[in-house]
């Protein structure tokens, strides 16, 4: 007995969501766990609900389908079927990365083929393959860059993007992370391990269970007893380099001297 596919539908148009829901209900063995009308909602739902499958519209205002994958991170993304009205750029990228997509208006037969493929991936445990494809897709969309160059900041009623280039260091604060950038603090709901995945390891390093630092921001490192180090940043902030991250930081610093 296969368990139903826990599915999320993301589209900014209510009729489009309704259409997919109806068509999916005819296929059966699919449990629609939610509908999202925009990218921000989608990011939240994917993180909290961990669905098996997402139907993801590409052209949504402000936070596009690609932004959703970027912010969630390819590794944490469920299986994705892209849905698009028309976007030559996106279609080319899907074809290059051999990713599945549906065109609007959605053809029911084509939709069941997509669902079959998704099941095949899940039963074949080929999720890693998809993660890799998504990674390539993002790279393609970002013109070859491996890591996103912006971080989404959500404040009530407004979404802004922070350039990764401005980030000095990041600290975990419960369910939130606090990003220190250019003397300002931005609090966003995210896990430090997830944001770590989206940052270039040549430029950033985890120094502690609850901190990530831009290596070029380190001004001084002083050994403390018990093998820990105290790190002084150019911003004046003082952090601790814990023993478990010490070796990796030193390795990166040695190799990545050029990045400094």
């Amino acid at each position: 007995m296969k368990s139903p596919l826990r599915t999320l539908i993301v589209d900014d148009e209510p009729l489009a969501r309704e259409g997919l829901r109806k068509l999916l209900s005819r296929i059966g063995d699919i449990e629609i766990i939610g509908e999202c009308a925009d990218g921000v909602q989608a990011i939240d739902e994917i993180r909290s609900e961990r669905p098996d499958l997402v139907f993801l519209d590409i052209q949504m205002p402000e936070v596009s389908g690609f932004d959703v994958i970027e912010q969630v991170g390819p590794a944490s993304m469920p299986l994705v079927v892209f849905v698009t009205a028309f976007d030559e750029h996106a279609l080319r990228a899907f074809n290059v990365c051999a990713l599945d997509y549906l065109l609007k208006p959605v053809d029911p037969d084509r939709l069941s083929v997509s669902v079959k493929r998704v099941r095949a991936y899940i039963s074949g445990k080929r999720k890693d393959e998809v993660t890799e494809k998504l990674g390539r897709l993002l790279e393609d969309i970002r013109d070859g860059k491996k890591y996103p160059d912006r971080i989404m900041i959500k404040t009530p009623g407004r979404i802004t993007f922070l350039s990764v280039g401005e980030v000095d260091w990041i600290e975990a604060q419960g369910d939130y992370i606090c990003i220190h950038a250019n003397g300002k603090k931005h609090l966003i709901r995210d896990r430090i391990s997830e944001i770590e995945e989206r940052l270039d390891p040549d430029l950033f390093a985890r120094t502690h269970r609850s901190a990530i630092v831009r290596l070029s921001q380190i001004k001084e490192m002083q050994p403390l007893f018990s093998g820990e180090y105290s790190i002084l940043l150019f911003s004046g902030d003082k952090l601790t380099l814990s023993r478990s991250y010490r070796d990796r930081v030193f390795d990166t610093l040695k190799q990545g001297g050029k990045a400094l």
Partner: protein, 363 residues
């Protein structure tokens, strides 16, 4: 005209050449005439007379041109300016004749002739009409050059306007035929076929109308407001179908305005912006308000949304409105206003003000 004022010496070689030619021609004429009549020819006096005559006019020409610019023979002050030019022509002509006569008399006096103020006065009175004729010839040459330039500029402006309109037209065409708009609408229709066949048919009809209106569009610069509204109604109805409860549209149109003439395809991009950047951004119901009012001689069009507004660092003039602005500039000169700004509450208001004109075109 602005161009000639920027560099006062730019036209000098031309003027100098023209007046030198004039002097040479007069010289030739006097020579031929006097030879024919058998008069004795006094070369120094003749040379001095003709050249001083021409070059004093040369010196006065910039003044005449200035007067021509300052007191143009155009409505509404045609009669006043005509009077001014008659008087100015007489005064300048008399001044000129007096000056050139003095030069002539001085040259003659070096040859032993007696300098006579009486001769001078006589000359001024006898030739003032001829000088006035020259004044008017300068004036008319100046005006004909101005009109030629204005005509040429208007030709350029017209062709630019046309290019801009065709761009606006193309953009509007792209909006309706925009694959994104088109396929999303078709997708919406395919969903409606199941749920509400009647609504599906209606939406399909509207989409067809939009495509037809765009294909039929004949490229005129100005259309009656009514016609633009027709177009918008269908566009808005489709957007409302697509976005459902998330989009509310309020129209507030002065009945007086229905027959006003407005630039074709003016409102559609503003409304599209309001929906796209204003409404879509905001989670929760979005409102687009379109108002058109007449304020004496001014037509004021406003498109207002309640979205999150422009980012504080963005250019307030609004990206994507450059084309609209340029078009309005060419059509109305400085007689228009295009303003896009954040509301004090939420969202953005785009305001266009243009001169109110009734459309006289036959529908």
């Amino acid at each position: 005209m602005k161009k000639t004022q920027t560099s006062p010496l730019r036209g000098f070689p031309l003027l100098f050449g023209a007046w030198t030619l004039f002097a040479l021609f007069m010289l030739l004429q006097s020579y031929v005439y006097r030879t024919k009549v058998g008069q004795e020819i006094n070369f120094p006096a003749l040379l001095a007379g003709e050249f001083s005559y021409a070059y004093i006019w040369l010196a006065l020409t910039p003044l005449v041109l200035r007067l021509a610019d300052r007191f143009r023979l155009e409505k509404p002050s045609f009669l006043t300016n005509l009077g001014i030019h008659i008087v100015a022509g007489a005064v300048l002509s008399a001044t000129h004749k007096f000056a050139s006569g003095t030069v002539y008399e001085l040259v003659r006096s070096t040859q032993g002739a007696e300098f006579s103020w009486e001769n001078q006065l006589h000359g001024v009175l006898a030739y003032v009409d001829y000088g006035m004729l020259i004044y008017w010839v300068i004036l008319l040459l100046k005006y004909s050059r101005d009109y030629y330039r204005r005509y040429r500029d208007s030709e350029i402006t017209a062709s630019k306007l046309e290019a801009q309109l065709s761009r606006a037209h193309l953009e509007a065409l792209r909006m309706q035929l925009h694959p994104h708009f088109l396929f999303n609408t078709l997708n919406a229709i395919s969903v409606l076929i199941d749920r509400d066949p009647e609504d599906a048919r209606r939406t399909l009809g509207r989409l067809s109308d939009l495509l037809r209106l765009t294909l039929e569009y004949d490229g005129v610069q100005e259309v009656p407001f009514e016609r633009e509204m027709d177009f918008l109604d269908r566009y808005l109805a489709i957007e409302k179908t697509r976005f459902g409860d998330r989009l509310t549209v309020r129209l507030d149109v002065d009945p007086d305005v229905m027959h006003a003439s407005i630039p074709a395809m003016l409102l559609q991009p503003l409304v599209e912006n309001a929906i796209k950047h204003g409404i879509n951004r905001q989670r929760g119901p979005g409102i687009v308000e379109i108002s058109a009012r007449r304020n004496d001689g001014t037509l004021r069009l406003q498109v207002r949304d309640n979205g999150v507004g422009l980012p504080s660092n963005s250019d307030r003039k609004g990206v994507g409105l450059t084309n609209t602005r340029e078009r309005l500039e060419r059509m109305y000169g400085t007689q228009f206003l295009l303003d896009v700004r954040n509301n004090t509450g939420a969202g953005v208001t785009a305001t266009v003000e243009i001169p109110f004109r009734k459309d006289h075109g036959v529908q």
